[in-house]
Symmetry: C2
Subunit: 95 residues, 2 copies
DNA sequence: AATATTTGGTTTATATTATAAACTAATTTA
DNA sequence: TAAATTAGTTTATAATATAAACCAAATATT
Protein backbone atom coordinates (compact mmCIF):
# COMPACT_ATOMS: atom_id res chain seq x y z
CA UNK A 1 0.00 0.00 0.00
CA UNK A 2 2.64 2.51 1.03
CA UNK A 3 5.87 2.91 -0.91
CA UNK A 4 6.77 5.28 -3.68
CA UNK A 5 4.90 5.07 -6.95
CA UNK A 6 6.87 5.08 -10.17
CA UNK A 7 6.95 8.58 -11.66
CA UNK A 8 6.37 8.63 -15.40
CA UNK A 9 9.88 9.39 -16.65
CA UNK A 10 8.48 11.29 -19.59
CA UNK A 11 6.93 13.79 -17.26
CA UNK A 12 9.61 13.78 -14.59
CA UNK A 13 11.71 16.22 -16.54
CA UNK A 14 11.73 19.89 -15.73
CA UNK A 15 11.19 21.16 -19.23
CA UNK A 16 8.62 18.59 -20.33
CA UNK A 17 6.74 19.09 -17.08
CA UNK A 18 6.70 22.85 -17.63
CA UNK A 19 5.39 22.34 -21.14
CA UNK A 20 2.63 20.06 -19.95
CA UNK A 21 1.80 22.37 -17.08
CA UNK A 22 1.44 25.20 -19.52
CA UNK A 23 -0.53 23.26 -22.11
CA UNK A 24 -2.97 21.85 -19.59
CA UNK A 25 -4.29 25.32 -18.88
CA UNK A 26 -4.71 26.58 -22.43
CA UNK A 27 -6.38 25.42 -25.58
CA UNK A 28 -3.18 25.50 -27.55
CA UNK A 29 0.14 27.30 -27.60
CA UNK A 30 2.73 28.16 -30.20
CA UNK A 31 6.35 27.10 -30.13
CA UNK A 32 7.67 30.60 -29.55
CA UNK A 33 5.23 31.23 -26.72
CA UNK A 34 6.18 28.00 -24.97
CA UNK A 35 9.83 28.82 -25.48
CA UNK A 36 9.42 32.19 -23.80
CA UNK A 37 7.30 30.93 -20.93
CA UNK A 38 9.63 28.07 -20.11
CA UNK A 39 12.87 29.86 -20.83
CA UNK A 40 14.06 26.88 -22.84
CA UNK A 41 16.38 27.07 -25.80
CA UNK A 42 14.72 26.35 -29.13
CA UNK A 43 16.81 23.22 -29.64
CA UNK A 44 15.96 21.70 -26.34
CA UNK A 45 12.30 22.58 -26.68
CA UNK A 46 12.15 21.05 -30.14
CA UNK A 47 13.56 17.77 -28.82
CA UNK A 48 11.27 17.65 -25.81
CA UNK A 49 8.16 18.48 -27.82
CA UNK A 50 9.01 15.59 -30.10
CA UNK A 51 9.18 13.24 -27.16
CA UNK A 52 5.84 14.40 -25.77
CA UNK A 53 4.36 14.16 -29.22
CA UNK A 54 5.71 10.66 -29.84
CA UNK A 55 4.20 9.57 -26.54
CA UNK A 56 0.86 10.94 -27.63
CA UNK A 57 0.79 13.41 -24.74
CA UNK A 58 0.56 16.42 -27.04
CA UNK A 59 -0.36 17.02 -30.64
CA UNK A 60 1.79 19.23 -32.80
CA UNK A 61 0.64 20.89 -35.97
CA UNK A 62 2.75 22.92 -38.34
CA UNK A 63 1.22 25.70 -40.35
CA UNK A 64 1.93 29.21 -41.55
CA UNK A 65 1.04 32.56 -40.08
CA UNK A 66 1.34 34.75 -43.15
CA UNK A 67 4.63 33.50 -44.50
CA UNK A 68 6.15 32.35 -41.24
CA UNK A 69 6.08 28.78 -40.05
CA UNK A 70 4.19 28.23 -36.82
CA UNK A 71 4.29 25.15 -34.65
CA UNK A 72 1.19 24.81 -32.52
CA UNK A 73 0.88 22.40 -29.62
CA UNK A 74 -1.98 21.17 -27.55
CA UNK A 75 -2.32 18.59 -24.85
CA UNK A 76 -4.24 15.42 -25.67
CA UNK A 77 -6.63 13.44 -23.51
CA UNK A 78 -3.90 10.87 -22.99
CA UNK A 79 -1.59 13.69 -21.96
CA UNK A 80 -4.07 15.04 -19.45
CA UNK A 81 -4.51 11.59 -17.94
CA UNK A 82 -0.77 11.08 -17.72
CA UNK A 83 -0.23 14.48 -16.18
CA UNK A 84 -2.90 13.92 -13.57
CA UNK A 85 -1.53 10.54 -12.68
CA UNK A 86 1.98 11.94 -12.42
CA UNK A 87 0.79 14.69 -10.10
CA UNK A 88 -1.05 12.22 -7.91
CA UNK A 89 1.95 9.93 -7.71
CA UNK A 90 4.18 12.86 -6.95
CA UNK A 91 2.01 13.84 -4.01
CA UNK A 92 3.09 10.61 -2.36
CA UNK A 93 6.60 12.04 -2.31
CA UNK A 94 5.99 15.57 -1.22
CA UNK A 95 3.15 15.56 1.27
CA UNK B 1 6.61 36.89 -11.31
CA UNK B 2 5.14 33.98 -13.22
CA UNK B 3 7.29 31.46 -15.05
CA UNK B 4 8.68 28.16 -13.91
CA UNK B 5 11.19 28.10 -11.10
CA UNK B 6 14.32 26.05 -11.50
CA UNK B 7 13.92 22.69 -9.78
CA UNK B 8 16.97 21.65 -7.78
CA UNK B 9 18.38 18.92 -10.03
CA UNK B 10 19.68 17.05 -7.03
CA UNK B 11 16.16 16.58 -5.77
CA UNK B 12 14.44 16.22 -9.11
CA UNK B 13 15.34 12.55 -9.32
CA UNK B 14 12.90 9.86 -8.39
CA UNK B 15 15.16 7.91 -6.10
CA UNK B 16 16.80 10.85 -4.37
CA UNK B 17 13.42 12.45 -3.87
CA UNK B 18 12.07 9.25 -2.34
CA UNK B 19 15.07 9.09 -0.01
CA UNK B 20 14.57 12.67 1.10
CA UNK B 21 10.84 12.18 1.48
CA UNK B 22 11.52 9.23 3.70
CA UNK B 23 14.26 10.86 5.75
CA UNK B 24 12.31 14.04 6.36
CA UNK B 25 9.77 12.10 8.39
CA UNK B 26 12.12 10.09 10.57
CA UNK B 27 15.03 10.75 12.86
CA UNK B 28 17.31 8.46 10.91
CA UNK B 29 17.15 5.39 8.71
CA UNK B 30 19.48 2.56 7.81
CA UNK B 31 20.65 1.72 4.31
CA UNK B 32 18.76 -1.56 4.17
CA UNK B 33 15.55 0.05 5.36
CA UNK B 34 15.78 2.82 2.76
CA UNK B 35 16.56 0.25 0.12
CA UNK B 36 13.42 -1.73 0.97
CA UNK B 37 11.15 1.29 1.20
CA UNK B 38 12.30 2.79 -2.07
CA UNK B 39 12.72 -0.49 -3.94
CA UNK B 40 16.10 0.69 -5.19
CA UNK B 41 19.01 -1.59 -5.94
CA UNK B 42 21.88 -1.34 -3.48
CA UNK B 43 24.22 0.03 -6.12
CA UNK B 44 21.94 2.78 -7.22
CA UNK B 45 21.08 3.68 -3.65
CA UNK B 46 24.74 3.83 -2.70
CA UNK B 47 25.46 6.25 -5.52
CA UNK B 48 22.49 8.48 -4.78
CA UNK B 49 23.18 8.60 -1.04
CA UNK B 50 26.68 9.75 -1.88
CA UNK B 51 25.32 12.59 -3.97
CA UNK B 52 22.91 13.71 -1.29
CA UNK B 53 25.66 13.44 1.26
CA UNK B 54 28.15 15.41 -0.85
CA UNK B 55 25.56 18.14 -1.23
CA UNK B 56 25.16 18.26 2.53
CA UNK B 57 21.50 17.28 2.29
CA UNK B 58 21.97 14.18 4.41
CA UNK B 59 24.57 12.91 6.83
CA UNK B 60 25.78 9.35 6.58
CA UNK B 61 27.49 7.48 9.38
CA UNK B 62 28.95 4.02 9.18
CA UNK B 63 29.05 1.83 12.25
CA UNK B 64 28.53 -1.78 13.31
CA UNK B 65 25.51 -3.52 14.64
CA UNK B 66 27.12 -6.48 16.36
CA UNK B 67 29.54 -7.51 13.65
CA UNK B 68 27.60 -6.22 10.69
CA UNK B 69 28.27 -2.92 9.02
CA UNK B 70 25.42 -0.45 9.19
CA UNK B 71 25.03 2.74 7.19
CA UNK B 72 22.77 5.21 8.89
CA UNK B 73 21.37 8.31 7.19
CA UNK B 74 19.61 11.39 8.40
CA UNK B 75 18.49 14.55 6.75
CA UNK B 76 20.32 17.76 7.63
CA UNK B 77 18.96 21.24 8.15
CA UNK B 78 20.29 22.19 4.75
CA UNK B 79 18.52 19.16 3.34
CA UNK B 80 15.22 20.11 4.92
CA UNK B 81 15.52 23.63 3.51
CA UNK B 82 16.32 22.33 0.06
CA UNK B 83 13.48 19.84 0.15
CA UNK B 84 10.98 22.48 1.20
CA UNK B 85 12.15 24.84 -1.48
CA UNK B 86 11.95 22.12 -4.09
CA UNK B 87 8.41 21.25 -3.06
CA UNK B 88 7.36 24.89 -3.22
CA UNK B 89 8.90 25.35 -6.63
CA UNK B 90 7.29 22.18 -7.82
CA UNK B 91 3.88 23.44 -6.80
CA UNK B 92 4.24 26.08 -9.49
CA UNK B 93 4.23 23.26 -12.01
CA UNK B 94 1.47 21.07 -10.70
CA UNK B 95 -1.24 23.30 -9.29
C1' DA C 1 36.47 -27.92 8.65
C1' DA C 2 35.87 -26.59 4.25
C1' DT C 3 32.63 -24.56 1.08
C1' DA C 4 28.60 -22.21 -0.24
C1' DT C 5 25.41 -18.47 0.64
C1' DT C 6 23.91 -14.26 2.51
C1' DT C 7 24.56 -9.54 4.03
C1' DG C 8 25.86 -4.94 3.34
C1' DG C 9 27.55 -2.53 0.79
C1' DT C 10 31.05 0.00 -3.30
C1' DT C 11 32.91 0.54 -7.90
C1' DT C 12 32.55 0.51 -12.62
C1' DA C 13 30.30 0.23 -17.02
C1' DT C 14 26.42 1.29 -19.86
C1' DA C 15 22.25 3.16 -21.42
C1' DT C 16 19.39 7.16 -21.21
C1' DT C 17 18.65 12.18 -20.73
C1' DA C 18 19.16 16.89 -20.96
C1' DT C 19 21.19 20.50 -23.08
C1' DA C 20 23.68 23.47 -26.02
C1' DA C 21 25.87 24.34 -30.18
C1' DA C 22 25.77 24.20 -34.95
C1' DC C 23 23.05 24.23 -38.76
C1' DT C 24 19.04 25.14 -42.30
C1' DA C 25 15.84 27.79 -44.77
C1' DA C 26 13.04 31.45 -45.37
C1' DT C 27 12.12 36.45 -44.23
C1' DT C 28 12.81 40.98 -43.02
C1' DT C 29 15.49 44.95 -42.54
C1' DA C 30 19.24 48.25 -43.56
C1' DT D 1 22.34 42.89 -51.90
C1' DA D 2 24.15 41.92 -47.73
C1' DA D 3 23.21 41.42 -42.87
C1' DA D 4 20.31 40.10 -39.33
C1' DT D 5 16.24 37.93 -37.51
C1' DT D 6 12.80 34.23 -37.11
C1' DA D 7 11.48 29.61 -36.52
C1' DG D 8 12.81 25.95 -36.01
C1' DT D 9 15.82 20.90 -36.62
C1' DT D 10 19.86 18.00 -36.22
C1' DT D 11 23.84 16.62 -34.05
C1' DA D 12 27.30 16.42 -30.52
C1' DT D 13 28.42 16.45 -25.72
C1' DA D 14 27.92 16.45 -20.90
C1' DA D 15 25.36 14.79 -17.07
C1' DT D 16 22.28 11.16 -14.95
C1' DA D 17 20.30 7.05 -13.65
C1' DT D 18 20.76 2.41 -13.33
C1' DA D 19 22.34 -2.19 -13.23
C1' DA D 20 25.89 -5.37 -13.26
C1' DA D 21 30.01 -6.86 -11.37
C1' DC D 22 32.62 -6.96 -7.59
C1' DC D 23 34.39 -7.16 -2.51
C1' DA D 24 34.89 -8.46 2.41
C1' DA D 25 33.02 -10.34 6.28
C1' DA D 26 29.63 -13.24 8.52
C1' DT D 27 26.65 -17.07 8.69
C1' DA D 28 24.80 -21.36 7.24
C1' DT D 29 25.42 -26.00 5.02
C1' DT D 30 27.40 -30.69 4.20
Amino acid sequence: MSGFAQLDPLLHSQLRLAVMSLLISVDSAEFVFIKEKTGATAGNLSVQLDKLSNAGYISVTKSFKGKKPVTTCSITKVGIKAFEKYVNNLRGYIE
